[in-house]
Amino acid sequence: MHAFDYKSPEVLAEALQQLADSDGSAKPLAGGTDLIDQMRTGRHQPTLVIDIKKVAELNVLECAGDGLHVGAATPCYRICGDDNVQQDYTALADACNIIGGVQIQSRASVGGNLCNSGPAGDSIPAMIALRGICVIAGSAGTREVPVAEFCTGPGQNVLADNELLVEIRFPPRPTASGSHYRRMIPRNEMDIAVVGVGASVTLNEAGTTITDACIGLGAVGPTPLLAARAGECLVGQTVSDATLANAVEAAKEIISPITDMRGTQEYRVHVTGVLVRRVLETAISRATGDPCVVRPGH
């Protein structure tokens, strides 16, 4: 690995100052499960690595009246082990439970997953579905960007060189709502998504009509996608096969998958349809109170 300097600030302002002082030649380090390998292969050669894990704001995991706050550096094992996340933000727990293996989850953060901005990053469609908002801090203050607008291309996002992702905030879970994230991979575990789908659904009191839905798609375009029309076309509809079929078609319309060793374009389009339906079905069941425990690999 190339030589670089290392700092591990404990205060957010200090981390931001170090970032600003380095004029784009520094890289934040959270769990390092992307960055360390990218430095080893020479893809990134920062002169300074700023370990942001000791900054308190980046390590929160808190469910309060205003919703859920997930610090950008909070590792996956804490997120998927958290009762509130499992119960009320289940799609996020589903995603954190399948990122890498146990060793990767000990370190990998959703902030790193998002900032790495891979089209197949598993937490991203889940966070889009849960309507996550990125809280970003820079020398000029803080700003907020929806997760759905954060990634701008493969490996690219809205962050300026002097900005840090501080946390991702999620609105309180509506009553009678449920969510799910699932991906298709050829192996049981430890692989990159061929397609990933996250969805959240809210039902009316009777549990018969969809009052709100949001769908995120991964690995089917240059960035993870918000399938806006697919979600909107479910609103006001009764839960039925025909209703879900409309969402499936609307989701397929916005994707532009590539052909690679994991699957052809045609296959990815088909799998998107299958997954959108299954993920919606699970989110709907969860909205009615059925926990639908998902065991990875099954």
Partner: protein, 161 residues
């Protein structure tokens, strides 16, 4: 540019102080500076699990940890699992169950098994296969390894009551 710094960590319950450059991984430090060569290097990109150690109670791949990140950490490596010079339940079960051939993956599997048993003393086959998914073995195949982990869990329950 050499910007070595002193890092202090607890390794296998003893205080260890070492000099390391920020660019060195924990795996390099363990093997090359501390002579703890039981931790193996397979892929050096996080995929094979051969370099698994337990850091602050959690299994991590040491090839994706910087040595400088170990400051103040508590680390357990394969050298720290035996009891007073004799093999512990997990090591014995791997040996008796022929759960290794070339053995390069074994220290990683054993550390990962230790992490699993600390979390779940009586894992199902499913639990084991999920928990060990980040460890690859090119020669033995996984069935014997899974059976060894089950045997180790059973034996440990007998020993610890």
């Amino acid at each position: 540019m050499s910007n070595k710094r002193v890092v202090t960590a607890t390794i296998n319950e003893e205080t260890a102080e070492f000099l390391c450059e920020p660019r060195q991984t924990l795996l390099e430090v363990l093997r090359d500076s501390l002579n703890l060569t039981g931790t193996k290097e397979g892929c050096s990109n996080g995929n094979c699990g051969a370099c698994t150690v337990i850091m602050n109670g959690h299994a991590v791949v040491s090839c994706l940890v910087l040595g400088v990140e170990a400051e103040g950490a508590e680390i357990q490596t394969i050298e720290g699992v035996s009891c007073d010079g004799s093999l512990n339940e997990v090591q014995s079960a791997f040996l008796e169950g022929a759960a290794l051939q070339c053995g390069i993956c074994t220290p990683g599997f054993i550390m990962q098994t230790e992490a699993l048993l600390a979390e779940k003393s009586n894992p199902t086959e499913d639990d084991i296969r999920f928990y060990l998914a980040g460890n690859l073995c090119r020669c033995t195949g996984y069935d014997k390894i899974v059976r060894a982990v089950m045997a180790a869990a059973e034996q440990r329950q007998v020993t610890t009551g």
